[in-house]
């Protein structure tokens, strides 16, 4: 190899060595709905660089996205939240737990058996675990996470549909509020008090992560018109076999004046708040 080739190789090597190093907070709250195909994965980075990861999708794409933002050799995530143990939310989290250190893991255990959930419980046993219920609040770097669902009582019953136990919580930072709904069903949305949400959001919800990839079983017109979101993000895979999102739901969200964004069309959706 000639000297000029060596210099070229070294320069390219160094250029690609520093990817993800500048990863501290940038003074903004960054809410990123990652394009992980047919699944959910949301990364929240606080103004001072603390990280909260909500779900991981059904593949390892979320791990790649994380590696672009956090140096791979010192990967640390402050809070990791599993909304419910379906595979399209859990697989990426299992991958991330294999290599990253996690401050606290939040999830609720239920009598549901799957290989992915067993692995999740095995891997999470190395970290601090916290169960979360409606009414619980935690604050990280002036960003509040207010849990609205599930009820502790509800979890004590048999749950035929796992989506019914999905976390629903509000991310509150100053005047900005986003409602993250996991795969909450119409039944769950019907049990949530939009008056309470309006109280918390001053009747102005900035972002709604549309539940269950825009499934028709998550269409609750009364609830959506009640919370009146400005931006609705649907995390959905291109040409998915479930035909998500349901056209009727998208139509209705447009009708109530919500600006609909889809990850299958827009890729990662980034919302930055000063």
């Amino acid at each position: 190899m000639k000297r000029s080739d060596v210099i070229l190789v070294v320069l390219v090597y160094l250029l690609f060595s520093f990817r993800g190093v500048a990863s501290a907070g940038d003074g903004y709250l960054n809410l990123e709905i990652l394009d992980v195909g047919q699944g959910d994965s949301i990364l929240i980075t606080t103004p001072n660089g603390k990280r909260v990861l909500v779900d991981g999708g059904d593949n390892y794409e979320s791990d790649y996205e994380i590696s672009k933002r956090i140096p791979f050799y010192s990967c640390y995530i402050d809070i990791l939240i599993l909304t419910h143990p379906h595979y399209d939310h859990i697989v990426g989290l299992n991958r991330i737990m294999q290599r990253c250190k996690i401050g606290t893991i939040m999830f609720n255990d239920v009598s549901f058996d799957s290989r992915d959930f067993r692995l999740f419980k095995e891997l999470s046993s190395n970290f601090n675990i916290k169960n979360m219920y409606a009414g619980d609040i935690f604050e990280i770097d002036e960003v509040n996470f207010i849990f609205l669902w599930p009820d502790k009582k509800f979890l004590q019953n048999r749950i035929p549909d796992l989506n019914d136990m999905s976390f629903v919580f509000l991310v509150d930072y100053g005047k900005f509020e986003a409602l993250l709904t996991g795969d909450a069903t119409e039944k769950v949305l019907g049990r949530l008090s939009f008056n309470k949400i309006n109280e918390l959001t001053d009747s102005s919800l900035d972002v709604l992560k549309v539940p269950h990839h825009g499934s028709k079983y998550s269409l609750h017109k009364y609830f959506y018109s009640g919370i009146d979101p400005k931006m609705c993000v649907i995390s959905v895979g291109k040409d998915n076999k479930f035909s998500h999102p349901y056209p009727g739901l998208v139509e209705y969200l447009n009708e109530i004046g919500c600006n609909v964004l889809r990850t299958d069309e827009s890729g990662d959706v980034l919302i930055r708040v000063r």
Binding site: M1, D63, Y73
Partner: protein, 352 residues
Amino acid sequence: MFKILKYYLPLLLIIIVACLRVYFNCMGSVKDACLEKRESIFSDESKFPGKQISKFRERSINISRKYLPSPHSELLIGMVIGADELEKIPAFKEALKTTGTIHVVVVSGFNVSLVASLIMSVLGSKYKMRNLLISQLFTFSYSVMTGFEPPVIRAWIMGGVVSLVKYYGRDINGFTALLFTALVMIIIWPYFLLSVSFQLSFLATLGLIVFGNGIVEGLRKLFKTEAFFIEDLGTTISAQVFVLPIVSYYFGRVSIISFLVNPLVLWTVPIATVIGTFFMFVAGLSSVVAKIMSIVMYPFLNIFTVVVNYFSRFSFSSINFVLGIVPVIIYYFLVILLIFFINKKRRKSEEK
């Protein structure tokens, strides 16, 4: 005439045996049995040695995932042990297909030759029978660990044949060695003839043997540079000459930019493979050393990942193009004619 017959008679006999094996195992009523997807004995996880190999592969995958993010970890385990874990990174798998670089994520003849040359550099002279046998044993073990797939078997047999012939002071050209290897493989496993990975491995190697040196030299003259990526461009083109029609026939999609992307990324593969192989062994002994090695190795894997992802975004990166069996046969016939004329011309100029 007698001299030629004496030289080619053994090869002719092997061809006849191979044809008979294929005829009795893959024609007529037994055709379906030949088309069945078979697992090698080294893949059966319920008994020895498949169980042990499976554990080794599982351990390697976990080590890789502990220290590297995805898709870098999947890229590494594909390069080093040939484990196909691409289903978990669908976007990257698609990018590899689009850019014509998916061949990197399978263990190939390149890996076997890399292991062989590493062992030989430790052992010393390759003209000692003991060293030859040790090298063959190590490369066989490595081939088994990687699943003993057709490209690896091809490289292992071919490497052994060439080494042995050279040991006895004879010379063998690449084409004869490849043909002999392919025939031996077909005699032992007749169904390999219909295996896509066997066909691709055979044709890519054939392309490298027939056109490799000529195209690389031509490109060096054309671009007036000896830069290292010219060799990668030359090898990509020469392999593609034979591989493209088969890829089109089986997969219905051909990468347009593989000629550009391969030279940009291929140089990272041997470096990452060598560091990665040591990394897999060291990681179990010391996590600190493993971390340092992962930091050193990561940029090479990252260059590959970023370049492949970048070029896969263009709509013109690949086209859907299905070639039927007749055009494929005509194509290969024309290429063989071309080779014949090139050789004839070369011989004439040598005589002058």
